[in-house]
């Protein structure tokens, strides 16, 4: 792990990952209570990808996410209150209670949406990058998608166009081995090493350990800068794993318990903590403080959300047309 973080940055990194973890666990509880409904896809186990990649961005870069978007939103520092309120369908939610878990938006943070059509966000990201290029803005778009999304025609069409026009897109492929219950070996012709697909489009690509937040940062930073300085799109494949089901409705019988256990030994949070402690970057006491504050943040978020109002029925027709 050649990259080193100063204490403040390291604590922040830990804090974000921990926040995501606890937030997601809380979501699961709220779902069981029936306060969150619909499809709920948790990011538990994948925290290092969002935090490593997103903390390497500038504030005005764009982010485009998928339906498993809480982690990205929290890493981008969207207000946890607003996210939780959104999950509970409240008017104070980041999308006014209209989008729900799969469709978080906060344009003020460059968070251009969670998208629930697999692969549908890829052309959107290419379009945002087109606007950056057209307007000569100093921005990039970071676009998250899963291994399953690689199989959609969208992947092909979007990478081709991004490369053809040398657009500032950082494609972040979160390869957690499964699209719902289907292992990539059963859905992609070349199985592992999906990043090699980028060759077809002349897009530089790298595969990294997505359980290691430092590895993610180390890879992401130069690639982002390359893209920012006009080098065209890049692709990062982060090998990761979700510790939980695809969604709360997942029967979960398609994964081997041993496989799950093995991946859990690579827990990105523990891994980072071990590293930081062993390098004396921060101490157990720092962790305790953060854990406490993060728990409070999550508790507050729930409280805020529960106390918020549902949208008025009369508001239903707002924002369809100008």
């Amino acid at each position: 792990m050649p990259i080193t973080l100063d204490k403040q940055k390291a604590l922040e990194t830990y804090e974000l990952m921990k926040l995501i973890r606890l937030f997601e666990e809380e979501c699961a509880s709220q779902y069981m209570r029936g306060l969150i409904r619909g499809f709920l896809h948790l990011y538990i186990g994948e925290e290092a990808v969002a935090v490593g990649a997103i903390s390497s961005l500038n504030e005005d870069d764009y982010i485009v996410s998928h339906y498993r978007d809480h982690g990205h939103a929290l890493a981008r520092k969207l207000d946890p209150n607003g996210i939780m309120a959104e999950l509970m369908g409240k008017s104070t939610g980041v999308s006014g209670g209209r989008g729900g878990s799969m469709h978080l938006f906060d344009v003020s943070k460059g968070f251009m949406g969670g998208y629930a059509i697999v692969g549908g966000q890829l052309p959107i990201a290419v379009g945002l990058a087109t606007s950056i290029d057209y307007l000569s803005e100093d921005r990039v778009v970071m676009c998250f998608f899963g291994d399953g999304a690689v199989n959609e025609g969208y992947f092909h069409e979007s990478l081709n166009l991004a490369s053809l026009w040398k657009l500032p897109v950082v494609f972040v492929l979160e390869n957690n081995l499964y699209g719902m219950g289907s292992h990539i070996d059963r859905t992609h012709a070349t199985g592992h090493n999906l990043y090699l697909s980028a060759d077809e489009y002349n897009i530089p690509a790298t595969q990294i350990d997505g359980m290691d937040v430092l590895a993610v940062m180390e890879t992401a930073q130069p690639l982002i800068e390359r893209t920012r300085s006009g080098g065209g799109p890049v692709l990062i494949e982060a090998n990761t794993y979700r510790f939980v089901g695809h969604s709360m409705a997942d029967p979960g019988n398609y994964r081997n318990i041993l496989e799950i256990e093995e991946w859990k030994t690579k827990d990105p949070i523990s891994k980072f903590v071990e590293h930081a402690l062993s390098q004396n970057i921060f101490g157990l006491d720092d962790i305790a403080v953060i854990d406490e504050s993060v728990k409070q943040v999550v508790r507050d978020a729930v409280e805020f959300a529960e106390q918020s109002e549902d949208p008025e029925v009369e508001s239903m027709y707002r924002e369809i047309h100008g």
């Binding site: 619909g38 409240k90 989008g99 729900g100 469709h103 059509i117 959609e152 997942d250 549902d310 369809i320």
Partner: protein
């Protein structure tokens, strides 16, 4: 006679299709190991193996297109597209290919296949996952569209779909899977293009299909308490469309309400309403009224979602107002 859920009925139909025809196979995302997003095909992989139960990459276009091609080559594919929202990604294969093949080849090719998919809102899935596009498919000559509303029809219609030599879109409403109902042990089927009077009445005719049938029946019960007897008609299939049954009813009642979950403007309810008007004009005592989903992308919030989807009280209020005129 036994009780089955809609889910079990559809499964039963699929088992029959698989058992009676070796050329029948299933394909779709996560229909195998995962058991299907709505668990309809649970157990099929174990029973029939990977050759006949195929988990697909997330690639709706090639899923639908491969089904069409394999039907042209002599197989009988039953495809699952996880929800009707995702059929938009397969639409070119369905509308420009499946539906055109037989006609354009002057009958040299047939495309026997069933494309199962899930329609409707109410599950808190918001705008991209709560739509009702079956009416669009019903606009397309060359396709058939069936919309079961209960376990009996789910099985009976499936059996007819299995006999079809042409592509059928078999539309399952997301809220119906756990609904139970009587299903005879002995063989029967429900023909395509035959709607059914599921409740008799002489004051007003309610025409509907799919997920809205139970809503209308509930409304009819409430109306009955208030002395209004509604006749409720379940279309069962949108293409072929049996309008006769509804026309006959309207000639009797003199009044009609069409209920659908889809957005009103340009929705399939307009087809029903205009066909009724064309065929029962002289019998109408008041305008045919459409009750439809609110014209908004479906909001996630439960409160808004409930307000956006027609419910029994909307139906009763509308009908009571209508009767007073």
């Amino acid at each position: 006679m036994g009780k089955l859920t809609v889910r079990e009925s559809i499964s039963k139909g699929l088992y029959e299709a698989m058992d009676s025809n070796e050329r029948c196979y299933l394909l779709g995302e996560d229909i195998g190991e995962y058991g299907g997003a709505y668990a309809v095909t649970k157990g099929f992989l174990d029973k029939y193996g990977e050759k006949r139960v195929r988990d697909m990459p997330i690639a709706e276009s090639v899923i639908a297109g491969a089904a069409v091609g394999s039907a042209m080559g002599g197989l009988f594919p039953i495809v699952e597209i996880m929800t009707i929202n995702f059929t938009l990604l397969a639409m070119d294969q369905i509308v420009n290919h499946a539906a055109k093949m037989r006609y354009m080849s002057n009958g040299q090719i047939q495309v026997p296949m069933i494309l199962r998919t899930v329609t409707g809102g109410g599950g808190g899935l918001a705008a991209t996952h709560s739509q009702n596009f079956e009416g669009w498919y019903a606009n397309v000559p060359g396709l058939k569209v069936v919309t079961p509303s209960n376990p009996y029809d789910a099985l009976g219609l499936m059996r007819s779909c299995i006999e079809s030599k042409d592509p059928v879109i078999y539309v399952e409403h997301c809220l119906l899977y756990s609904v139970t109902g009587d299903v005879p042990e002995e063989y029967y089927n429900v023909p395509l293009g035959k709607s059914v009077v599921c409740r008799e009445g002489q004051d007003v005719t309610i025409v509907t299909y799919g997920g809205m049938v139970s809503v209308c029946l509930e409304a009819a019960d409430k109306l009955s308490e208030q002395g209004i007897e509604a006749e409720v008609i379940d279309l069962r299939s949108l293409r072929p469309l049996d309008i006769e049954t509804s026309v006959k009813s309207v000639c009797k009642t003199g009044r009609a309400v069409v209920v659908e979950e889809n957005w009103k403007t340009g929705g399939f309810g307009a087809e029903i309403s205009s066909s009724l008007q064309e065929n029962a004009f002289d019998y109408l005592e008041s305008p045919i009224i459409r009750i439809s989903g609110e014209e908004v992308p479906m909001p996630y919030s439960r409160k808004l979602e409930s307000a956006a989807i027609p419910d029994a009280s909307k139906v009763t209020i509308t009908i009571k107002a209508m009767m007073e005129i």
